[in-house]
Symmetry: C3
């Protein structure tokens, strides 16, 4: 569906760009964790392809896209090598990385929702898999690096909400039979802008009430 | 098979009840870890559906049950919202939560074993997947929350043993062609009672011998 | 393919030997982490079968080999029981365990590459899955035990490189239509010897440059 909405080359280029920025975020964490060159590559690759891989296993699209397109293999390696040599520079343009990551988030939540729907899943589940596509790689990254997933933490700017909004918009548009290049781009753009605002204004989601109960561990 | 043994509505109601209590345990850990509202929902959902999801991927039942039945999506969200607002109250009835969790353990080890057998797995492997169905969600929960899985720890009451006993009973009954509503309920009840006893009397499984060797890290 | 190159019984015996030594490494970590007997078995089984399981899910070989052959179920249990009672002795022959583990690494990277190619994956991806087969179990082990995967860490002897070399040799031989019992054994042996040298001479892979940047956490 989405595949028909845009020229394949445009979509593929966007896809690879998303893979690239997600790989950068994995590689940067790997450098901070003092991993070696192969650890950097593994974490870059797992971050970049993890979300789509989980989606493809769940919808039964095997072998997953990550194992059929050489771009998914080469791009994380390039990102890893780049970060390995230039990580102080990459950290310095951290804001730019955040912008591209937000773009990847927007793109992937729409692509993931559409692909899951094409494979026959109900729209609520397609939207969930859109969120998994966009945010799953970051969770895989943090689990592999033995960190608490930043997606789940209260003290991080919201990441799930933009993905949920973008994926839900896309699902509602499919429901209304109104998904076209403009509206799907609009869904992705909404998620993108929401994430940018979250970073810019430090938006956080609420925690549980009554945090002073005996069971709460203050950070 | 089990699907034919009981009226579908009864089985479905039990299933959703199991999902609910597993989701509660995920949400409680998320609150303790100081996650935000979406972190609480994600951990509730992953705990509730993780075991069945792994089973379905392994037996090739795609899309997995968790992605075809809206109850699996809505129930963890309800559990997460409930815990978010009422977690001190939920903690206070922790014993009741433990009882329901034990019921979920009993139910899921039988359901999981039966489903895996229906998909053509050998009985020993079906029993293993019954244990995965019952105990896998808790492992997913602990891995996502960056904790040592409580399933594996020595200083926790046994959780694996009741699941292994229930799943093995169920597999032996299938082998003897004697699985019917009564005997399958009996398998689930055995796992349930064993787990309750484990909590009540603090049963633990043995550790490795010679724990004073140089390689042992005392807790 | 490889399945035709060697007598099935020889290949199966090698396979089970590889499963056994990987299970030993999982069980040893479980003892160090103070897990109970079922925790030891779970970690032994997950380490032994994790890499092949991930490969089989990705190539769509369901149910995975680990759930069709009783040897994959019994061998980790035997390894776990052995380590449970004899872990000081097993630790003392740690060097021998390292040699067998290197043999498993060599065998599994070739078997994994070949199986993935048989299931229709492109050669670069088949090689990646060969590495996943050889090294994935160790990553699963470390994630379950809540440790930073030793595969990724800089302060460990290289493990990925021997697997990458072995899997790539195997893929190139398939490309050149020159895979036969001798050349596939040679690929496995190359990975094996490289890993032994890495242990013997403490070979490590490089880390990121400029480790003194503000973002680097010294270990």
């Amino acid at each position: 569906m989405l595949i028909d909405l845009f020229p394949p080359t445009v979509l593929h280029a966007l896809d690879i760009a998303g893979i690239f920025v997600f790989a950068i975020s994995g590689a940067l964490l790997a450098v901070r964790k003092n991993f070696d060159v192969f650890g950097i590559m593994v974490l870059a690759g797992a971050t970049a392809t993890g979300g789509g891989l989980i989606r493809d296993l769940i919808i039964g699209a095997v072998p997953p896209a990550a194992f059929t397109d050489l771009g998914y293999l080469v791009t994380p390696v390039v990102a890893a090598v780049l970060v390995m040599f230039l990580h102080p520079e990459v950290e310095r343009i951290n804001r730019a990385v955040g912008v591209f990551d937000a773009a990847g988030l927007g793109l992937f939540c729409v692509v993931g929702t559409t692909k899951a729907f094409e494979y026959g899943l109900g729209l609520p589940f397609a939207a969930v898999l859109g969120v998994v596509t966009a945010a799953g790689g970051g969770v895989v990254r943090d689990v592999l690096a033995n960190e608490v997933p930043s997606l789940l933490r209260w003290d991080r700017e919201i990441y799930a909400v933009p993905a949920i909004v973008g994926a839900s918009m896309c699902a509602l548009l499919i429901q209304a039979d109104a998904l076209n290049p403009v509206t799907s781009a609009l869904s992705a753009a909404t998620a993108f802008v929401l994430r940018l605002c979250a970073i810019r204004y430090g938006w956080r989601a609420p925690r549980a009430w009554h945090r002073r109960s005996a069971t709460a561990e203050e950070p």
